[in-house]
């Protein structure tokens, strides 16, 4: 089933969006018990060319040192943090500097070559937090309550098509352009038809998960000059199946819903906040309003700051 949510503060200032998104996702916990995830934008405060790597490392003698050695061989680690996760895994987060964004994906692929190590993501303008378990467990584990930002997207996962693990938790990220993430409720039934052309452009797929396909599709469109609204509209024409998905970009969020409207999406907005979610109960975690818009079949909505 899955639950999706997105929120933007229109004043572009920092707000406790980690805490707010935690509440939004907790309200959607019943839609997906397997895993949950956040993309919290605008609060990292990194300098130009600085990036945050978010790496899953098994508790194994010497493995973390190998990860650090791999990173340091490319660029010195500036700052680091270890968050203990479950099933003998730790999440290693480190800040690095690269000459250009194009160096990020090759570095991630280098680190991924280490056994029992998976790079969950690498980002500049947002922090991704995703793990297996309930929203509250993950929120406590990573202290999402303290995360500040301008906007965020999030997900509770009811797995259908791929395995339950930390990497397959949403959001998924593309590296075609910086910092594009997607959370998704549904299935893309013409998955291979969408994936094929993207691979022929040279875009790298790490999984067979259809949400990864969506994020590469959107990033590819944005790379080609589409506005977010245009990319969302085009995706509705190009993609088959029941879906409702939310995109996060460095400047905002957007939602798209399939042409038959087979997955839910609701929206509430006031002068301060733009919020979208699978259900009204999630919107009520952000604002008190009786004015709830249903996203119509084949409709997309976006807000950029």
């Amino acid at each position: 089933m899955c639950g999706i949510a997105g929120v933007v503060f229109k004043d572009k200032k920092l707000h406790p969006v980690g805490k707010i998104m935690t509440r939004m996702l907790d309200a959607l916990q019943h839609r997906g018990p397997d895993s949950a995830g956040f993309s919290i934008y605008g609060g990292l405060g990194l300098q130009d060319h600085e990036y945050l790597l978010n790496i899953e490392v098994k508790e194994k003698s010497g493995l973390l040192e190998q990860v650090k050695k791999t990173v340091n061989a490319v660029t010195p680690i500036e700052k680091e943090e270890i968050v203990p996760s479950v099933e003998n895994y730790n999440i290693y987060k480190c800040k690095i500097a690269l000459t250009s964004f194009e160096e990020l994906k090759p570095l991630i692929m280098d680190i991924d070559k280490l056994e029992d190590v998976v790079v969950l993501n690498g980002s500049h303008s947002f922090e991704m937090i995703k793990d297996v378990g309930s929203v509250k467990e993950i929120a406590d584990r990573y202290d999402t309550y303290s995360k500040m930002g301008t906007h965020a997207i999030g997900h509770t996962r009811f797995s259908t098509e791929s395995i339950v693990d930390r990497y397959h938790a949403h959001p998924f990220q593309s590296y075609i352009i910086p910092d594009i993430t997607v959370v998704h409720n549904g299935q893309i039934t013409n998955y291979w038809k969408i994936r094929g052309p993207l691979e022929r452009y040279g875009h790298i797929f790490e999984t067979n998960n259809d949400t990864e396909c969506i994020v590469h599709y959107i990033a590819d469109k944005l790379y080609k000059g589409y506005k977010l609204e245009e990319a969302l509209e085009q995706s509705i024409k190009d993609m088959d199946g029941p879906f409702s998905y939310i995109v996060g970009t460095p400047n905002g969020v957007g939602i798209a819903k399939d042409q038959l409207g087979l997955r839910p999406g609701v929206l509430a907005e006031n002068d301060e906040v733009f919020a979208i979610a699978s259900e009204e109960v999630s919107l009520r975690a952000v604002m008190e309003t009786d004015e709830i818009d249903q996203i119509s079949p084949g409709e997309s909505r976006a807000y950029t700051i």
Partner: protein, 230 residues
């Protein structure tokens, strides 16, 4: 009148519905406080009792009720009144997709807009939408009536077999097997009697402006070929 309040805060749907069913044996009116858009509220209640959901409801509010009168003071999610056999579900706000899905009887009223597929596979009963109704309203409708005081979106009356839709606003497009016919005096009088009962007071000339959507054929047809039984 014997009345009781039930605070739904921190309850799960199963607990709430159990409490409602127990209260319905002793009380005439049950007010559910802090519903917080919970799903499945008042599912399967067969007592003839008045229920007020003081806020918004989630999915399947009042599903399979038989005789209860439910008022939702906020909005409702998908499938309010799904498969009800008798009673009333009144929604003061807006509603999601599938309002009155598959109902066999009773009345569903949404004061504001409704989502897609309003009244899909309904067999009988009445659905009134005060605002607009979305894509494929009346999908595979098999009986009863849907009244929309605003506009209806694409494919209105898709594969409708029996029953009728009355639309005061614009009809974006008709679905397969649907056609528009002139509203006759009998239908107008039916609406004039019905709508004020639920607080919709229309000017006299508005009743002439309703469009009536009915089936073209008694059997669904696929592709371009109509049923020979038409």
């Amino acid at each position: 009148m014997r009345e009781i309040e039930i605070d739904a805060n921190s309850m799960v749907p199963r607990d709430l519905n159990r409490a409602v069913k127990q209260a319905a044996r002793k009380y005439d009116r049950i007010v559910i406080k802090n519903p917080n858009a919970m799903h499945y509220m008042v599912a399967g209640l067969t007592d003839d009792v008045e229920i007020v959901i003081d806020g918004s409801a989630g999915y399947f509010a009042g599903t399979m009720i038989d005789g209860a009168k439910i008022r939702i003071t906020g909005n409702a999610g998908w499938f309010p009144a799904d498969n009800m056999t008798d009673g009333e579900v009144m929604i003061d706000g807006a509603a999601g997709d599938g309002v009155g899905q598959g109902i066999y009887g009773g009345t569903v009223v949404v004061r504001k807009n409704a989502g897609s597929r309003t009244g899909e596979i309904m067999k009988n009963g009445t659905i009134i939408i005060g605002g607009n109704s979305g894509f494929m309203s009346g999908l595979f409708m098999m009986g009863g009536r849907i009244i929309v005081l605003g506009d209806v979106s694409d494919d209105a009356g898709e594969s409708i077999i029996r029953g009728a839709m009355y639309v005061l606003g614009d009809i974006k497009s008709l679905g397969k097997n649907a056609k528009i016919e002139e509203i006759d005096d009998e239908s107008k009088n039916e609406l004039k009697e019905l709508l004020p009962v639920y607080g919709f007071e229309l000017e006299e000339d508005k009743y002439d402006k309703f469009k009536k959507i009915v089936p073209r054929s008694k059997r669904p047809f696929y592709g371009g070929k109509e049923s020979e039984e038409g």
